[in-house]
């Protein structure tokens, strides 16, 4: 690719990314009343999206080969127990991450 072609390619990526982020705001501007269906989706979607993001983070793990995603599963188990118990975001995230780092460095 020439420099110009590279700039065009990066420009397209920027434009489409902004498009995916902005389209809902263009379709449902502040001045007008947001349709009831979109208001409903705005409330019903987040839990499903959070679940989807968790799976998205784990998409490259394999349950059937290698370490069977055990470091991931054990660390998520620890995060779940700690978070339900203490409800402290930083404690849960830090412990889970350290647990994962220790497991991948020393155990698996």
């Amino acid at each position: 690719m020439t420099l110009l072609q590279q700039i065009i390619t990066i420009g397209i990526v920027i434009a489409v990314t902004v498009f995916t982020r902005a389209i809902a705001f263009w379709l449902f501007p502040e001045g007008k009343k947001t349709p009831a269906f979109i208001q409903y989706l705005g409330k019903a979607l987040p839990p499903a999206v959070f679940g989807m993001l968790v799976i998205y983070c784990l998409k490259d793990c394999s349950l059937l080969t290698g370490n069977h995603a055990l470091p991931e599963l054990l660390s998520i188990g620890l995060i779940t127990i700690l978070h339900v118990w203490k409800r402290n975001m930083f404690l849960s995230i830090a412990s889970g991450t350290v647990c994962y780092m220790l497991l991948t460095s020393f155990v698996f």
């Binding site: 990066i10 019903a44 979607l45 987040p46 999206v49 993001l53 799976i55 470091p71 991450t97």
Partner: protein, 229 residues
């Protein structure tokens, strides 16, 4: 007002500080290793600001010029942002001109924090959202810049540090789970994503998963409406 919002917002971004610095540095080093000048990761992290897409763009730049393919691939990888937009339409109301930056900077992490945190009484919501977004983007750009400029000097044992991002999303998911009365949407998101991942594979599962989630939630509106009101 602006300061207070900053002080409230900053702690929520600390996990992202860790994750983005690490991933940003990796991205900077990766770009240099592919033979790009340091300007590429610096400007791409600043202007594209969509982590996984920046890695994908790097490999696009190394293959033949294909603008239509680039647009379609970006649309597929980033389609999940359409959901973020639908969710934030009402939250990002009445925040003034900051709104345009909030939309531009709406990455997975900024969306998740701004969508899930109940901004405390007395803290300006618009500025809280703004600081979360600005801080997250600065961590990413700073990481990418450091990786691009100093990559060869950095050797540290950070094996597994990227898991901090997974941990963040797990905690946000749990928080939302613990707050809700019924878990239909949470379970739907997990279940459909796992199913589509098995059926379509890691590279292609997001778009079908989003379509199924959208369809099921639309059909379930009469039953769910009272739950989420």
């Amino acid at each position: 007002m602006i300061r207070k919002a900053f002080k409230t917002a900053f702690p929520y971004t600390i996990p992202i500080l860790t994750g983005f610095l690490f991933l940003g540095i990796s991205y900077g080093i990766y770009m240099r290793a592919l033979g790009f000048s340091a300007l590429y990761p610096i400007f791409m992290s600043m202007l594209i600001f969509a982590g996984s897409m920046e890695f994908v763009t790097a490999s696009m730049l190394l293959s033949g010029f294909n603008p239509v393919g680039a647009a379609l691939l970006t649309l597929m990888v980033n389609a999940r942002h359409i959901f973020y937009g639908i969710t934030m339409v009402s939250k990002y109301k009445n925040v003034g001109k900051k709104k345009w930056y909030l939309i531009f900077g709406m990455c997975d992490e900024s969306f998740s924090i701004n969508c899930s945190v109940d901004v405390p009484e007395g803290v300006d919501k618009g500025w809280f959202y703004f600081w979360v977004t600005v801080l997250n983007q600065s961590y990413w750009v700073l990481g990418a810049t450091c990786g691009a400029l100093l990559g060869s000097l950095l050797t540290f044992d950070t094996n597994g540090l990227a898991f901090v991002m997974t941990a963040l999303f797990v905690v946000i998911f749990l928080d939302s789970w613990l707050k809700e009365k019924k878990h239909f949407s949470s379970l739907l998101g997990l279940g459909v994503s796992v199913l589509c991942l098995v059926l379509f594979g890691a590279e292609k599962f997001l778009v079908p998963a989003m379509c199924v989630i959208f369809l099921v939630l639309s059909l379930a509106k009469p039953f769910l409406e009272k739950e989420v009101a």
